[in-house]
Symmetry: C2
Subunit: 278 residues, 2 copies
């Protein structure tokens, strides 16, 4: 019941091989959590998508996209929606068509297992050897060029208790997880998350947590974070729209405690399940 | 007559929306020149594709790929073949399937106009503001993450005599054109091309020209090339499998002459039209 495929609003599961999303990764995506027919942080997802369109100089999605997403969510107790939004079909060559007709591809997946276990007990993570290249033109954008993440996630193949990998950039700064953003609580109580000016994806859950923390007088510092500094943190957690907040209880060999800020962040994440204003 | 589409060897022009080439740019491509039913530098293309599969830890293409390409070339006086080779369909998430079934997508395009004009008269190029991020894990590989090239090529929209854009990396070194590799003849007669250890695509025409130059006692130096150094060159040319060698007669405001090394390189490029051993 949870599966489903739509292209430009029509039931379809096959795409022209001329689509620029395939040829160049010329497009964007959003991964959305459905709970009881509602989509968590829907406004943030739609805002980020529009922002990404501006960054890539693509036409914005049609105004009916919100309703299209909600229609795919309707009646689902829990599901994942993935929306791909590409620059559409094109001729040969990098030059975009003068008047592109973007393609929106919507896929509904079953809700993944094991997420709640990780929320409760925390996860161990590894530091990936695959680095993120720096490019401010693309930094923060949730675009379809994701080979760095694929290579990083390929570094550990089998289930060995590792649930996520941390990625550093070419300069050695901690940027994010392969599929998540990272927060650290420092010894002085400051809550910090890596700046994403050079690379990384600006997650909507990251945005939500930063706002909620600020409302509780716990401003989040966006910082250049070395691995050494991260490993000195009191608490570490990773987040995204689907997983919510996972406490990090180990980074390679080093153990971490699950602390009060992380548990508070989990409550903020729970508030994001509804699509309504928070 | 020149158009054609095949997926995994079968006539087809639509691809499952679950393909990882679409979701992540998780794959490779080759663009091949067909002349009188033969494919130029076919061995080099196939070697680079296999090398790329190793770099991305993908299964190699089937041994029948050469015949499949030649069948698509058969009877064509001039055409372009584009082969995309992806990791195939997958579930949600970056982790590749343990036993991926790659997808090969082959598209035959008409031969583009105007190429010979540029070979004869040379081209003006611009220096793009979009930079290439550095990532040695992906450097040289002709993979499907090409947003940097799309953004760079989008910097000039209309025909204004500019045929190509030069791309610098994040450190300011000249790396390549948006769709070509770059060579420079320095004042001391040395022939040089940028090193591709940090970014860029290792073109098969670049490889061919380096080999031919070496055979004529004109070794090609692979160098870190600043824009200042490039602009001091006696001759500049750009190359790829389709265009052959284009002399550069202008970089932004600065004019360049078409020199003897460039004309010699064009003869080497002509020799690459046949798929036979050279």
């Amino acid at each position: 019941m949870s599966g489903g495929f739509w292209i430009n609003g029509v039931d379809a599961d096959a795409l022209t091989v001329l689509d620029r999303g395939l040829h160049y990764g010329d497009g964007l995506f959003e991964t959305l959590a459905v709970t009881d027919g509602e989509i968590g942080l829907l406004d943030y997802h739609l805002e980020r998508l529009r922002d990404g369109c501006q960054r890539l100089a693509m036409p914005e999605p049609p105004s009916g996209l919100r309703e299209e997403l909600l229609a795919a969510a309707a009646g689902q107790s829990r599901a994942v929606l993935k929306l791909l939004f590409t620059r559409g079909a094109g001729g040969r060559g990098y030059l975009p068509p003068e008047d592109p007709a973007p393609t929106r591809i919507l896929i509904r997946y079953p809700w993944p297992d094991h997420l709640q276990d990780h929320v409760d007990a925390g996860v161990r993570v590894r530091v990936c050897s695959t680095r993120l290249g720096r490019n401010p033109r693309l930094a923060g954008v949730k675009h379809l060029n994701r080979l760095e993440q694929v290579l990083a996630r390929s570094e550990w193949r089998r289930w060995d208790g590792i649930a996520e990998g941390l990625m550093l950039d070419e300069g050695g700064l901690v940027i994010e997880g392969t599929m998540s953003n990272v927060f650290a609580v420092h010894g002085d109580g400051r809550l910090a998350t890596p700046a994403l000016a050079q690379c990384g994806i600006a997650g909507v859950m990251r945005r939500h947590l930063m706002l909620q923390a600020g409302r509780e007088d716990m401003p989040v510092w966006t910082v250049d974070l070395s691995l050494t500094e991260l490993l000195r943190a009191q608490e570490i957690f990773v987040c995204n729209s689907i997983i919510g907040v996972w406490p990090v209880i180990g980074v390679d060999g080093q153990a971490f405690e699950i602390g009060p800020v992380t548990r508070r962040a989990q409550q903020w994440a729970m508030q994001a399940r509804s699509g309504r204003e928070i």
